[in-house]
Symmetry: C2
Subunit: 242 residues, 2 copies
């Protein structure tokens, strides 16, 4: 995606906290172009003057109609919480939508529209959109908070870039000789503490050996565990001598 | 994921709006088990008494220490905005973390921890975690709003389920005969309106034919366009007769 090619457009936002939250999510995910269409003026002023208000809010552009706000964009995409209403415009899942936005934003300007907190985008707003997208929320409670919806959409837009294959770093496992030393120490401790009656009981030894192997002890921790057991053993021997 | 197997744990939240926003995102994405550790009491009361406060807040469980809050969970995972600090605990990208949570949640109880708005999870909190995860925000502005962070994590947890292959529904394209009728009408209009001098100019006809084919006209819209052009043509002829 070319820098600054995605325009986040809030249509008729009412709540300064939501405007601020949208700007914060934009900053979190590296989007800096905010446009507002007919914001409630008091709300916008309050958001701009809030402590920690960002450059994004300072540089936000305000328009009095949606057509003007998106006139320089080649793709205009809207968001909606509605999945059942006949929308007259194609509705794509967010993942697919994000892919289309990334493609278009690599060569031209894209506008992603969010409607007002209470009503979302109107049918008139939607008629400016090539298509709509919907965050996969529950049917029973589809409508998201504006700031949270912006955050989720921008996360999805950045997600693929972060999607490179991740391999869980496997901790190097302890070598068999460490496990065996641990087993021996443990058996000694168990015998001295009375947990097992006979130190030499073969079946006990096998049980303890298997128990230790099931720990998947990391190599880096082996010495620590051996030290702990040695210390306890030392203390037990000392007590006995007293 | 088994129903209700994921516990969302807010550690020392301070702001009622954030507690409410976390609960709203939980409801949006279908998670219903909220636990709070040492919430600022005034904030929790205010969140619970807010208009539209959910069952989730009503049923939230409050604990005075983290160990108690997660005692029945087999996987305790923390969230952090920090990527550079030596965390002493494995740090996994959110996508990989979500996969691990889904796996564990299919057979046991999982706790996903979010720290306080100002400080995040403390080192002591993190020591209860098997691993940590981080939302891929910008290094320059990593720290997300609490409610937005919860929304993004829960979206990612639900994302794979919604990830079934999506195919863009291709609109059935108009048949060649419709395109040719459209081309003929358009050529007639262009000749009558003086846009082209000679109706029969071969090169103009080819240009217009190609122009129409580049529209990728949907079959469902062909009749509408033909109707529009016929109406204009009728008007032009009428004007001429007057």
């Amino acid at each position: 995606m070319a820098e600054d090619s995605v325009q986040i457009v809030l249509v008729a936002p009412r709540n300064p906290l939501n405007i601020g939250a949208a700007a914060r999510a934009m900053s979190n995910f590296g989007f800096f172009q905010l446009r507002l269409v007919n914001p409630y003026e008091v709300a916008f002023k309050e958001a701009r003057s809030a402590v920690g208000a960002s450059n994004i809010l300072e540089n936000a552009k305000v328009f009095d109609n949606l057509a003007a706000a998106v006139s320089d964009c080649t793709l205009v995409a809207g968001t909606t919480a509605v999945s059942h209403r006949d929308l007259h415009v194609p509705l794509y899942p967010l993942q697919a939508a994000a892919q289309l936005i990334r493609e278009e934003a690599s060569r031209a300007r894209v506008a992603l529209l969010f409607g007002s907190e209470k009503f979302g985008l109107s049918n008139a707003d939607m008629s400016h959109c090539r298509w709509l997208t919907r965050i996969p929320t529950r049917d029973e409670h589809g409508s998201m908070n504006l700031g949270q919806a912006v955050a989720v959409c921008l996360y999805e837009l950045r997600r693929s870039a972060a999607e490179q294959e991740f391999r869980f770093p496997a901790a190097a496992p302890a070598a068999a000789e460490d496990l065996e030393r641990l087993t021996a120490l443990l058996l000694d401790l168990l015998a001295r503490s009375g947990y097992v009656q006979e130190r030499t009981s073969g079946s006990t030894e096998l049980k303890i050996r298997r128990l230790v192997r099931r720990l998947s002890l990391p190599a880096a921790d082996a010495e620590t565990w051996l030290g702990i057991l040695r210390q306890i053993l030392w203390k037990l021997k000392q007590e006995k001598d007293e």
